[in-house]
């Protein structure tokens, strides 16, 4: 049976953009992992940039929809975890630069 790869999953999730920050979830470092079983069912483990994120449920739905668009994927579950707590150092270098992270005190 042809199987889905992690790269396929991350590529699909990278089409989901955080509208507040303007970057995709993978580059923001919000995706902690993606497990694919022998039936091509995907379990995504991710976090959010803040616990009180008003887009909590929407993010889950968008990630699920994006992953389920991949050919061969039989289904997707998304789990939100809070450990380890996300911080800007987990984001890709170009995201940090675009947000000005680490530049100056304020």
């Amino acid at each position: 049976m042809q199987s889905v790869t992690k790269e396929d999953v991350y590529a699909a999730i990278s089409t989901v953009i955080d509208p507040e920050v303007g970057c995709n979830l993978v580059d923001l470092g919000l995706i902690y992992g993606a497990d694919i079983d022998e039936n091509n069912h995907v379990n995504v483990t991710m976090t959010l940039s803040t616990r009180g994120c008003p887009l909590h449920q929407s993010m889950i739905d968008w990630v699920k929809e994006a992953v389920e668009k991949i050919e061969l994927v039989e289904g997707c579950d998304v789990e939100i975890v809070w450990e380890p707590e996300w911080n800007i150092s987990m984001a890709a270098e170009h995201v940090k630069q675009s947000l000005g992270a680490g530049t100056g005190m304020w």
Partner: protein, 409 residues
Amino acid sequence: MKISSNFAPPLGIISPFFITGVLFYILSIVGLFTLESHISWLDLHWIGFVHTYLIGFVMLVIIGAMAQLLPVVLERGHCCVGFYPIIFTFISLGTLLLLIGFLAYPLLLSYGGLIIVLGFAIFGIELILTGKDGLWRSLSTRAVSFAILFLTIGTVLGWIMTLGLAGTLEMDPSHLIDVHAMTLLAGGVMLILIGLAQILLPMFGLAHGFDTKPAVWAFGLIVFGVVLYLSGEIIASDTVQTLAMVSILFAVGAHSVQVVMIARKKGRREYDIWFRSLAVAYLSLVLSLGCFIFALMGGDDRAWLLSGWLFGIGFLGFMITGHLYKIIPFLVWFERFSPLVGKQKVPMLHQMVPKRSADFQWGYSSVGLFVAALSLVFENNDLWYGGLSFLLVGSLFLIHNITWMLRFK
């Protein structure tokens, strides 16, 4: 756990809070043109416009924002979202009646006061029914819960004062002014902002890993201070009330320290309209604290007035307008664009802010705030009317920006 997508109240319910709030802001600035820079605390016109600003603008916008934010924080939907149009109507109508009462018909004051008490009571009941035991879960929700309690006490005291002003009750309402103001401004508004800041500032600034002890201290000291102030009123002790004010001062100081700690852990260094508005807000708060301390140490009435001006127009005004540039685009985006994610290109939130016009709003309002503040120091009418003119232009930009964001398609 299903969070947020089903819990956000419809934009149609929340947007009147923001639009009407800003209209009350404009109305109060226009009203201040009828006064001169030498203002007496007991001038009924002054009191009328202060109430229009604090209830019609500050509280209306805060309640609208909390209607959107609290379900997310509490992780449960509103118990009775249909209460919000009633709350909106009561508080708007009550504010108008209070203003007319203060300006011309004192008999209307007690009706306006009662309607506002009812509006806050419905808001408090809805919050309790929605939050239940979850209200004690976090510092933010605990702060909001105590704030609602103090708002209730403060508005009831205010209503009793309106009965005195209208002649229905035989009493001198001026005796209650300080306890009324302290309960509402420190116990109500400041406590809500201390609570909400713990959520909003890290959320918009992408700040993590900061120590939250200052916020815990700020919460404890302000609750202690307000309770002490009320106790001092009951036992008629100036010493107790002075101690209470010192406690509240330390609470505001602790909150300021917390904000600096959050700012230093910010994950984004964008100096957008939100950040710049907060910068003016906290600069005003620090200056207001300085004036407050000076007044407490024996400064004249101008120090109290300046402290109040910087706190009200500077801190509260800029804190609220800055957050409107974050909250309204989100609400509009959530309602109009979130269903289109994955189907077509959707705008980013920063694209839904009229940046140039927002810069003008910020610039005019900042100049107006500080020029009018100077006029209070020097009791100079030219500076006063000049400052007010800048503030008015800024407020017109604000209503333009609010409607622009709400109409974004």
